[in-house]
């Protein structure tokens, strides 16, 4: 029983095999892609492995503390930011093998020409909140 974060990147991931940007797909290909993602999440709910999923807007702000009594400084978005997260899914699975299997399935989402994108997804294990009770 391990939770994993499945990260999808707008940029920063290695190039996928079927590397055609989404805005060059046909409307039907876009619909098919979205349907695939929804079906995938629904299937994980049925298997009892779904925890959460969210999509993120591509642009955000950078914020930092600027000293006592001052408002925080904001900046960006920066065009040079290499790594941009598009969204995530949190899954709760028996082991890493199962997490890899699911990420592999998600990476097969259809893109241009109805063919799998072979997109690189990042898989990050959660740290547990508590240590095991037998320490």
């Amino acid at each position: 029983m391990v939770k994993y974060l499945l990260l999808k990147h707008y940029r920063g991931a290695p190039a996928p095999v079927n590397d055609v940007p989404m805005d060059r797909w046909t409307p039907q290909e876009v619909s098919d892609h979205i349907q695939f993602m929804n079906d995938f999440a629904a299937r994980l709910e049925e298997t009892g492995e779904f925890v959460d999923g969210q999509a993120l807007a591509p642009e955000g702000l950078w914020v930092r503390y600027d000293g006592e009594g001052r408002p925080p400084v904001t900046d960006g978005p920066f065009a040079e930011t290499k790594d941009l997260i598009a969204g995530w899914m949190v899954i709760d699975v028996d082991d890493q093998q199962r997490a890899v299997e699911l990420a592999g399935e998600l990476s097969a989402a259809p893109g241009a020409g109805g063919k799998p994108i072979h997109e690189w997804l990042e898989l990050r294990p959660f740290l547990e909140a508590t240590p095991p009770a037998d320490e």
Binding site: G48, A129, T130
Partner: protein, 385 residues
Amino acid sequence: MTDHLEALVRELVPPVIGVLVRRGADFAAAEDAVQDALLAALEAWPADPPGDPKGWLVTAAWRKFLDAARSEAARTARELRVHTEPAPGPVTDGDDTLELYLRCAHPSLTPASAVALTLRAVGGLTTRQIAEAYLVPEATMAQRISRAKRTVSGVTLDERGSLVTVLRVLYLVFNAGYSGDVDLSAAAIRLARRLHAVTGHEEAAGLLALMLLHHARRPARSRPDGSLVPLAAQDRSLWDTDLVAEGIMILQSALARDRLGEYQAQAAIAALHCDARSTAETDWVQVVEWYDELVALTDSPVHRLNRAVAVGEAEGARAGLAALEPLDPKLPRYAAVAAHLHEKDGDLSRAATLYAEAARRATNVPERDHLTREAARVRQAPERP
């Protein structure tokens, strides 16, 4: 709902499932009906405690079962009578409760499914409590449980699995500790107590003793802010001496039967720690001997790793490092053990590097934070000449 009533209703869940199954309900439907009745009881009993709690639950669960069977019948347009008056099932001679444990920990289930089903059908927890304990949405946990029930609903008596898988599932529950409102360690102890009472098996005794001895130390294992206190630094006056005494008593009567198993061996090691007033006064030679037994029983690399720590205490850091030598550095917590032994051996810079590596490889936050502080502590310590 008072704790007393909640405890009572939980204890009644397995026998009431047994009654419904004997009346002819299949396991999955019976378990669903009892969960519904349990929720109704948690609602109704505080204001209106029943004179006969078991009778109340049986009646409520049977009604829920009939309602579900009727709507199922209506839905599928099958003959109503068949469902409302199920033929009596075979009366099993074996104990219903043991039967339930074995079914819920069936080897065809994944560990996560077996854990969830055991907590609900044997432990009498609600789906919401289990979901909260494992930090997943209630709908996800409900699906996990209903899939698990589908998997085991066709299981017959002769392929019912073994006590070994039940013990493993209970140990998994115990080790999950507690986050939020549900104390899974306490739930596991309750389940292990009942299993021990039902089977009298020496390894069920060993597991119960092991849990009690670990649980006894829980108040000393972390500070109020959640940070870890390693065994050597624990305030032993915080250990629960009643639990220690009970654990040792259960362990001794199991060991007397001379059928050693891995849980008894682990409990024996825990008992040696509980017996000592400090790590310096711990009988490390005996701890190593028990690890030898444990390794002989399980051949587990994790036990070999822990054995290396004990060897380091019994025979010195160099001997501990020698015991570590043949093990795979990829083992979980290998770096933490190596760091500890190198520090003991006086090689502080190597220890610091290893503590930092161990922190990177930790699988939980308190352990990571502890190891990070250890790395910082060792780096700041003056090098010994």
